[in-house]
């Protein structure tokens, strides 16, 4: 690779957008070419400064409230429609009502089966938990940045004692924990913050149902998985995939550090 080819690829490489072969040839080139290495370094410095100094704004409470209010209006409008239908069918005989009841029952069983099949996927379940927690006020049941406060709180409520690693060095601040239900069992959830992103980490005793490393995106939210330190770690967040994947690997290795 010469410097002309490299110039275009350096930014893509810094953004994690190069494939394995390109990554390898760029790395080789950067080692041998101080000019290109300096360009790469400048990009890394600029990124670091942007992430430190340029704020990522969060939706103000007033906006969130007004969006929720307009959803309520939409919900009421939707709920008003079937009620008119019921009034119209009030003259129906008992036999017809029983028929309706049977239909409703069939529908319940049908959706229960669909729910059960969807929930079979632990990653989807974890994302649902994460979304529910970040939407409501149940994100944190024990609020503390001290791992020695969070760990005993969780241990007292579970039949296992989850490790609570301090990840401050990596830029992840522990803000607390909660107990969730995952895969039909109570599960420790550690809550970290990186910049303005919330990261939920589901920690369970080794659960062999997931592949050893799973990385996927469910509804635009990333899920990364790792095993280690006698536990199964499932991290869920809207932070970028590479960041989340390396974070979960570090968590899994945490007690060997």
């Amino acid at each position: 690779m010469n410097c002309n080819d490299a110039a275009v690829m350096i930014a893509a490489y810094a953004d994690g957008e190069t494939d394995r072969a390109r990554t390898r040839s760029i790395k080789t080139h950067l080692v041998s070419c101080p000019d290109c290495a300096a360009k790469y370094e400048e990009l890394v410095v600029l990124r670091g400064r942007i992430r430190r100094e340029v704020p990522r704004y969060s939706a103000p409470p007033a906006l969130r409230a007004s969006v929720l209010a307009s959803l309520d209006t939409a919900r009421q409008a939707a709920a008003a429609r079937p009620r008119i239908g019921i009034d119209r069918w009030r003259w129906l005989t008992g036999g017809a009502l029983a028929g309706c009841a049977a239909t409703v029952l069939a529908w319940f069983i049908g959706t229960a089966i669909i729910d059960w099949r969807v929930n079979d996927d632990v990653a989807v379940e974890a994302v649902t938990s994460h979304v529910r927690a970040t939407l409501g006020n149940q994100l944190i049941q024990v609020a503390s940045s001290n791992q020695h406060t969070v760990k005993p709180w969780l241990s007292a409520r579970l039949d296992y004692s989850p490790p609570v690693p301090d990840m401050q060095q990596e830029g992840f601040t522990l803000i607390g924990g909660r107990v969730d239900y995952l895969d039909q069992r109570p599960c420790a959830t550690l809550v970290y913050k990186i910049r303005d992103h919330t990261v939920d980490v589901f920690v369970r005793p080794n659960a062999p149902r997931l592949p050893p490393s799973a990385l996927r995106t469910v509804r635009g939210i990333n899920v990364a998985h790792a095993s280690g330190s006698g536990m199964d770690w499932l991290a869920v967040s809207d932070v970028s995939r590479d960041v989340l994947a390396s974070f979960v690997q570090q968590l899994a290795r945490s007690d060997t550090r």
């Binding site: 957008e17 969060s58 939706a59 919900r75 939407l135 469910v218 932070v239």
Partner: protein, 178 residues
């Protein structure tokens, strides 16, 4: 699942991302809230076109469209459709030392420099650096080819790096650290 439930499950988790994008595009808190509110109404209406996997990119594309409609109504002068004209204006501003000095005197911090970028560069930079989206996602949100995402990002970064402010602040921070 009802539309409202689907909206709560798929779209609402990305309200911060939506506001952040709108806030950087409009550069004003109240205007950003108006844009996001409008985008939510549209998102609820067109929820049928959403596939599960890319709710964030889908919603951000709607926010961006809502912004461009808003800006067309409120600040039409801000939008320059011709890419070359944007480049020319930026080059002219930075090639004249007096103008550059005036401009840079107004920029106290890096976030001001980002806010001063032309909107086409600002949006790709925000989506990449603050929302951490991939080139492909940015391309679909901004409705441009991946090659254009790369060239706009490169221009945005070059403009920030060229800004003397960056060096001034770097000098200050090393001084205060020593």
């Amino acid at each position: 699942m009802s539309d409202v439930k689907r909206f709560e499950a798929l779209v609402l988790p990305h309200l911060d991302s939506a506001y952040n994008l709108a806030r950087w595009l409009t550069r004003d808190s109240q205007d950003a809230q108006d844009v996001v509110q409008d985008a939510c109404v549209r998102a609820l209406k067109y929820l049928g076109s959403l596939e599960r996997s890319d709710a964030r990119a889908w919603f951000l594309a709607i926010v961006r469209n809502a912004f461009y409609d808003w800006v067309g109504r409120n600040r039409p002068a801000e939008i320059v459709h011709d890419e070359d004209a944007v480049d020319a204006a930026v080059d002219a501003a930075s090639s004249s030392p007096e103008q550059a000095a005036v401009r840079n005197a107004e920029l106290r911090v890096l976030s001001d420099a980002v806010a001063a970028l032309p909107v086409q560069y600002r949006e790709v930079l925000i989506l990449r650096e603050l929302e951490e989206l991939s080139y492909k996602e940015i391309a679909s949100i901004a409705d441009i080819p991946v090659g254009t995402v790369m060239s706009r990002l490169a221009r945005a970064r070059a403009l920030l790096q060229r800004s003397p402010l960056l060096h001034a602040i770097r000098g200050q921070s090393t001084r205060s650290a020593s």
